[in-house]
């Protein structure tokens, strides 16, 4: 199990991530798989700040901070440059939050995917604009509290299905991953590394600060999200061949996941029921698309 994980640390200590930050565990392991021959571009998001202030940086790989909506476009430009300079082997990776992917960044992402740019686009999804103080994004789930979806008027629309949107682009590889299943994420990134064209990886990233959960619960929350089938771990090839990579035999009720987070503290029984219903419905729809379920 742990033999899959490289012992070399690329991301350095001293970065300013919150205690228990899911996105940082994900970056640490992503960099281990991607290796030093990687160029990151990061639009405005938590990682803009986590990396540290000028003239310091925790990433230890070349990193270009980009404007909020431009992750897909900036990565396309970097890729074109490296190809012209004979540096095709350098992996170009966009590392964006959910805001820069689902909302303001979706145009550039869609454009890059439609052109099948040879980049890896990784979205770490903490389900709101956390860097600016927890405002809602298209990725914020149903009934969640954020500063712009207050308890008196929580979010009434479901989380945007970015995975289906990316599948519609028919890009060679899409995968979902999360903190609690690092080995699954590593295998997917290793696979993605070898593929040419646009690869989209969605990483579910618990955020203690924004979810009002305990920092020590980050891994537990990400595990419960998978075990309740709220966030299935899948991969999709060419937008058409869907596969579940971590099988969940007996799903746990979604309330086990919700009750550990302050952002869901206001939920009524009815709302919890509706959330469970939507999880079950989405899972049924996913099953309809899946060609094969793998044993864990």
């Amino acid at each position: 199990m742990s033999s899959l994980i490289s012992r070399e640390e690329i991301m350095g200590c001293g970065h300013v991530a919150c205690q228990g930050c899911g996105a940082t565990i994900l970056m640490r392991h992503a960099l281990k798989v991607l290796g030093r021959d990687t160029c990151l571009t990061i639009p405005a998001c938590c990682w803009t700040v986590i990396d540290g202030p000028f003239p310091h940086s925790a990433a230890n790989v070349p990193l270009f901070h980009a404007a909020f909506m431009t992750a897909g476009a900036t990565a396309s430009g970097i890729r074109a440059a490296y190809d012209m300079l004979g540096r095709e082997k350098i992996k170009v990776v966009a590392w964006a939050g959910d805001g820069g992917t689902y909302d303001i960044g979706i145009q550039a992402l869609s454009g890059a995917a439609e052109r099948n740019e040879d980049i890896i686009y990784i979205c770490y999804d903490n389900e709101a604009y956390m860097n600016t103080g927890i405002q809602r994004s298209a990725s914020t789930p149903l009934y969640a509290w954020t500063t712009t979806t207050p308890v008196s008027h929580p979010k009434e629309t479901p989380k945007k299905d970015i995975v289906s949107i990316m599948a519609a682009h028919r890009i060679p590889y899409i995968a979902t991953g999360t903190v609690a299943y690092i080995e699954d994420m590593i295998k997917k990134l290793q696979k993605a590394k070898e593929i040419k064209g646009t690869r989209f990886i969605l990483l579910f990233s618990p955020c203690p600060s924004g979810w009002k959960s305990k920092p020590e619960d980050t891994v537990k929350l990400s595990r419960l999200a998978v075990k309740s089938r709220l966030f299935p771990l899948i991969e999709i090839e060419n937008g058409t061949d869907w596969r579940v990579t971590v099988r969940v035999e007996k799903p746990v009720p979604v309330i086990d996941y919700l009750k550990l987070q302050g952002r869901f503290r206001h939920l009524t029984e009815e709302q919890v029921g509706l959330i469970q219903l939507s999880v079950d419905r989405e899972w049924e729809m996913l099953r309809g698309k899946v060609i094969k379920e793998e044993k864990q």
Binding site: S2, G14, H15, G20, R28, P55, H56, S57, P215
Partner: protein, 129 residues
């Protein structure tokens, strides 16, 4: 004998961390501020790492590994976000193992390690300041 090997392994780890094929003058003792515009690069380009920032000062709770209980599964090392847990080479019952060692300079006390440890070998102690 065991203690000597542990110290050597720690030193090896530190050396390994420091000797990367990276730009010169990566480390700095405190945050770098340039004395003048003339001393700065033309654009905001960062050449120093974040090791100056001792995030260990953030802690209220301090994790302590009980090596009697530890089964060397490395789950704590795997999930540390800093990463403030490094791996030492040790020999346990005649077998080569990797031992998790907490780096208190950077450990923020998030608690993931003691929460995820499958054998409850990590205690959360009140930080003394």
């Amino acid at each position: 004998m065991l203690r000597l090997r542990r110290n050597l392994s720690r030193k090896y780890w530190d050396l390994k961390m420091a000797s990367r094929k990276t730009a010169k003058s990566r480390k700095a003792e405190k945050k770098v501020t340039y004395p003048s515009a003339a001393a700065m690069p033309p654009m905001a380009v960062s050449s120093f790492d974040m090791s100056y920032n001792h995030t260990g000062t953030w802690r209220s709770l301090k994790p302590k590994i009980d090596y009697e209980k530890c089964i060397y599964c490395l789950i704590c090392w795997k999930f540390c976000p800093e990463p403030a847990i490094s791996l030492d080479s040790v020999v346990v019952k005649g077998k080569e193992k990797e031992k998790p060692v907490i780096n208190y300079t950077y450990c923020k006390g998030c608690g993931i390690c003691w929460t995820e440890c499958p054998v409850e070998a990590i205690e959360a102690l009140e930080e003394q300041r």
